[in-house]
């Protein structure tokens, strides 16, 4: 045998040996199989929903476990973020692996997915050297590229994802790429995406808004009041370019039944948005509350006690069920984080990163399944 050939074979054998060793002793990957038969949600309340954070989740089994817990809680819908910058890193080159996995597991658990779109890839933003921009910066000349991407997304997941939110909280400077929020620009974005998405999936519901509840006045560098922004959107003709309105409404330190007020951030502030819709003959347009809830961090000034958080959340669901006819879903922010923030945002979660289940989870589960809580959740204060 040729000496060179023998050497080549020897090296081949060594590499095979190395591969065997790495396979045996390397980090084992957890094999994840879909549940068979596919699951369904058996809750009696059909508007319980949670905002998940699965896009940054690496192990597939964690994603599956999260969605199993969502189903077991009785939520029939999730809102999930699908960042353009993650999927189309290079123009025209799509990486659907993570989104496919999320969609596959959500479908397997019988969950409807509402997709939130945003985050601009570097190639669609101004050159960083010229002008530093964040992932939330969408220049005018990239509206069409964004529309093309969302249409491609809508077409790929038609029949599975039929609800798409265009952008997140555009009334905040941070979410608008640190520019002055501009409702007219946002309406132009809606106009740019509306027809392409509808052509890609005729059954899609296009959601606008998801405005941040804020009291920022006109001209503020931080943002613009959600009420002023929505009104300006209608003035700019937005109603032709969305099928439903996404709403964010947080209770902060206030109980859920507190009356709404222009100068107050509370749960029922959303009713002021509904009034604006009605004043533009848009009262019948469906509402999706895609973020809501209370926080029970012991220090954050906008937080309540854990007991209040549970009571307020369940009272809020009951109130919405009774009083808000056009509200299709009410999604709690947030089900679980892939990593803990070790700060107050962790106290919005229903399940910790290491899968410790909060009392709120059980309370929502009982509500979703129509179970009345037996007795009170906590004891009366001890008396002297």
């Amino acid at each position: 045998m040729n000496r060179r050939l023998r050497k080549l074979i020897l090296w081949g054998l060594r590499l095979c040996g190395l591969w065997v060793i790495v396979s045996v002793f390397g980090t084992p990957s957890v094999r994840v199989t879909l549940e068979n038969p596919p699951q369904t949600v058996d809750a009696v309340k059909d508007h319980v929903c949670v905002h998940t954070r699965l896009i940054d989740e690496v192990p597939e089994w964690v994603m599956q476990r999260s969605l199993q817990l969502v189903r077991e809680m009785g939520a029939d819908t999730i809102v999930e973020f699908f960042p353009w910058a993650y999927i189309e890193r290079e123009r025209g080159q799509y990486d659907w692996r993570q989104t496919d996995t999320i969609v596959r597991h959500a479908e397997n658990q019988g969950l409807r997915v509402i997709a939130r779109m945003g985050f601009v890839p570097a190639w669609a933003r101004p050159d960083v050297a010229d002008d530093f921009t964040t992932l939330n910066y969408l220049p005018d000349d990239s509206y069409q590229a964004f529309a093309d991407f969302v249409a491609t997304f809508a077409e790929r997941y038609a029949g599975t994802i039929d609800h798409i939110i265009i952008w997140n909280e555009p009334n905040l400077a941070f979410e608008w790429g640190y520019r002055q929020p501009n409702p007219q620009d946002y309406v132009r974005l809606l106009e740019a995406v509306y027809d392409p998405i509808r052509e890609a999936n005729p059954d899609v519901t296009i959601l606008a808004g998801a405005l941040a509840p804020t009291l920022e006045p006109e001209g503020s560098p931080n943002g613009l009041s959600d009420l002023l922004y929505l009104e300006a959107m209608y003035e700019a003709g937005a109603s032709d370019y969305f099928d439903a309105l996404a709403v964010h409404t947080y209770g902060f330190t206030n109980p859920p039944l507190q009356e709404p007020n222009d100068n107050q951030l509370n749960f029922r502030r959303s009713e002021l948005l509904f009034e604006i819709m009605a004043s533009y003959d848009d009262a019948e347009t469906p509402i999706y509350i895609t973020e809501t809830g209370w926080n029970d961090h012991p220090r954050w000034t906008q937080a309540v006690r854990p007991s209040q958080r549970v009571q307020y959340t369940i009272d809020a669901y009951r109130y919405a069920d009774t009083n808000w006819d056009t509200v299709e879903e009410m999604c709690l922010w947030v089900f679980r984080y892939p990593l803990p923030t070790l700060s107050y945002p962790d106290n919005f979660t229903l399940v910790t990163t290491d899968f410790q289940i909060s009392p709120l989870y059980y309370a929502v589960q009982a509500y979703a399944h129509g179970e009345e809580q037996e007795g009170t959740l906590w004891l009366s204060p001890p008396s002297e």
Binding site: D296, R299, W300, T301, R305, P306, S307, R309, V310, L339, P340, T341, L342, S343, Y344, T352, Q356, S358, P359, L360, L377, W378, L379, P381, P382, S383, E384
Partner: protein, 273 residues
């Protein structure tokens, strides 16, 4: 002229030796420059320590509209005093603390902050000055309890709190015990004091505040978890970090930190007695 080989060798060896000595000297000087203790001007070039603080968290920092007071304020003032710099406080919301540090608006954060490993790329932390971990509390006559004492007993805790989560975890591992959830943390210690519960699980601050209200209520506590409060400094302010950490160490060693904490929890009298 012919130079003998032996001499050439000696010259070469001497040159080599000298080069080596010079090299070692340069390396040593470089090491010394790198590792010498920083001078105060490097730590606080303006002579002022600007402190970011969330003044909504008694007894650590509170703003009464006219001035700031509390444990964190006293610790900051003592640090500044020992370093011979001025302390200037910038009150802000809890969620703005780290941004202000990273932006350079403040030099340090002294604001009952927990060590956060996720932030160690941006932030240097000092040694802890306080631990707000969970305490398993019992009446003094029962002696110190651990989790093994819990089966068939009752434990009072705040509904939905970290203590509740901890107790639920124990329930999966040991024989059953009864959880008495209360709406507010102070009710858990009321339950213990009024014999409504065999034990209570609360954080250290809740326990100390309660003891200051009921100094005659004698309890024993066992630390269950650790929640260290630390001072945060921006990662590129190594000199500032070294100074503050060293002074804090002195303050801990000479009992100043404990004295400040005890004063604010009003424990001095009971400690002395």
């Amino acid at each position: 002229m012919v130079i003998p080989t032996k001499r050439i060798k000696r010259i070469v060896w001497t040159a080599l030796l000298l080069s080596f000595v010079v090299f070692v000297f340069i390396v040593a000087m470089w090491e010394w420059v790198q590792n010498r203790p920083p001078i105060l001007e490097e730590a606080f070039p303006t002579g002022t320590m600007v402190v970011g603080v969330d003044a909504t968290y008694p007894p650590f920092a509170v703003d009464n509209g006219e001035s700031l007071y509390g444990i964190d304020i006293d610790i900051a003032n003592e640090l500044a005093h020992r370093m011979n710099v001025d302390a200037r406080f910038v009150p802000m919301g809890f969620d703005g603390l780290y941004d202000s540090l990273i932006d350079g608006q403040v030099d340090v954060l002294i604001s009952a902050l927990l060590f956060n490993s996720a932030r160690t790329r941006d932030v240097l932390y000092t040694r802890p000055y306080y631990d707000n971990g969970l305490q398993l509390v019992t009446n003094a006559d029962k002696g110190g309890w651990t989790v093994t004492n819990l089966p068939n007993q009752s434990i009072a805790l705040e509904y939905g709190s970290i203590a509740h989560g901890q107790a639920n975890t124990w329930l999966q591992r040991i024989d059953p015990f009864t959880i008495h959830p209360y709406e507010l943390p102070q009710y858990t210690l009321d339950a213990l004091r009024l014999d409504g519960s065999d034990s209570a699980l609360v954080d250290m601050t809740t326990l100390l505040l309660y003891q200051s209200r009921y100094p005659e209520f004698e309890v024993v506590s066992t630390q269950i978890t650790s929640a260290p409060y630390v001072i945060a400094i921006r990662h590129d302010r190594e000199a500032t970090h070294q100074w503050i950490d060293a002074i804090l160490e002195n303050m801990k060693n000479d009992g100043t930190v404990d004295a400040i904490i005890n004063q604010w929890f009003d424990l001095q009298e009971s400690t002395d007695s």
